[in-house]
Symmetry: C2
Subunit: 180 residues, 2 copies
DNA sequence: CTATTTACTTACCGTTCGGTAAAAAATTAT
DNA sequence: ATAATTTTTTACCGAACGGTAAGTAAATAG
């Protein structure tokens, strides 16, 4: 792996585990097997490094979730596949979701992270579009705000024990889908 | 207000806004209008201060939510009142909920916070008991795990725009309640 | 009034932080 | 082969961190 990628991966894991303020550049360097100064050769600052980690993380999630769903014909199959993929992703790529869980509120609140907030909202919008589509197919309750549904999904489908995740998903599905 | 209370309140607000690692003892001292060393007169360490803030925050939430619900006779009224109180609390005491939202994942994951995790799980258990009661009254779907429902509520009822909060709540209610 | 305890301040400690300049090593181009 | 460029290391900086020791001021007890 290229050095830059090694740094990004180590940073992603460290930020996910300890949060932006909980991890030092020294730690990231050690985890990546490089000297700290080398990180500053590839990234101008800790904030900038975090920004790239965040963006790439959401890129990964989006690609994984929306790619394999785009060729489904039936809406119901599409949405269910999406939610199943979501659970799989949360289960197998835990670290990516942990990063979001840990820093979401900071990114939503602090003006400093405006770009990252936009990226995150873009992800939510894509999910909201999928939900909105369901209203046209009469598959989803009329009174549901697609963006609220996307927020609900994104903040509750997070790394947990498998049984609990499935249970949470079934509650959400019953809450938004007209039929099972 | 007593000095110790001033410190606790300032710490609560600071931790809620910036998280444990994002805030310095100096900042907390300034916000409380005292010298930093005085904090160490009342609290042995930053971690200890945070522990007390966390515990008192959950105490406050619990008291507010469960106190005014305990005298309801009809289960349906009780649960709905509980959820309404939850929304009110989240809306009006934003800072308390933000603290939990920001540090929940660290506290659930890091062994260092074992006591705080227990306190948080105790809160979830209380909520789960309320849900479990609903199963006995045939008000809540049989296949629902009360603890999963408590987790769903706690992680999705967080500070947001009022309309969205209500929308999220109605999805959750439809997801767990047999009838409206 | 004085002795003792409680509350608070000043001044500092060692460490770690994010970040940088400059040199060294490795790679590539001529 | 050697010059030019890219990548990496070494050695350091000032600031901020959590925390402490020693002393002062205010309240309370005898």
């Amino acid at each position: 792996m290229k050095t830059r990628e090694k740094i990004l991966k180590a940073a992603q894991e460290a930020f996910a585990k300890k949060g932006f303020n909980g991890v030092s550049m020294e730690e990231i360097a050690k985890a990546a097997g490089v000297k700290k100064a080398l990180i500053y050769y590839y990234f101008p600052s800790k904030e900038n490094l975090f920004e790239e980690v965040w963006t790439r993380t959401i890129d990964e999630i989006e690609e994984s979730l929306f790619k394999e769903v785009e060729n489904e014909k039936s809406y119901m199959r599409k949405l269910k596949k999406f939610l199943r993929s979501y659970i799989d992703f949360v289960t197998n790529k835990t670290v990516l979701v942990e990063l979001i869980e840990k820093e979401r509120s900071s990114i939503v609140e602090e003006q400093k992270w405006e770009n990252l907030r936009k990226r995150y909202n873009g992800f939510l919008s894509k999910m909201a579009n999928l939900i909105a589509e369901g209203k046209r197919y009469n598959a989803i309750y009329d009174d549901i705000d697609p963006i609220a549904a996307a927020n609900l999904i994104s903040s509750s489908i997070t790394p947990r024990k498998k049984g609990m995740l499935n249970n949470i998903l079934s509650m959400i599905m019953r809450g938004i889908l007209k039929e099972k």
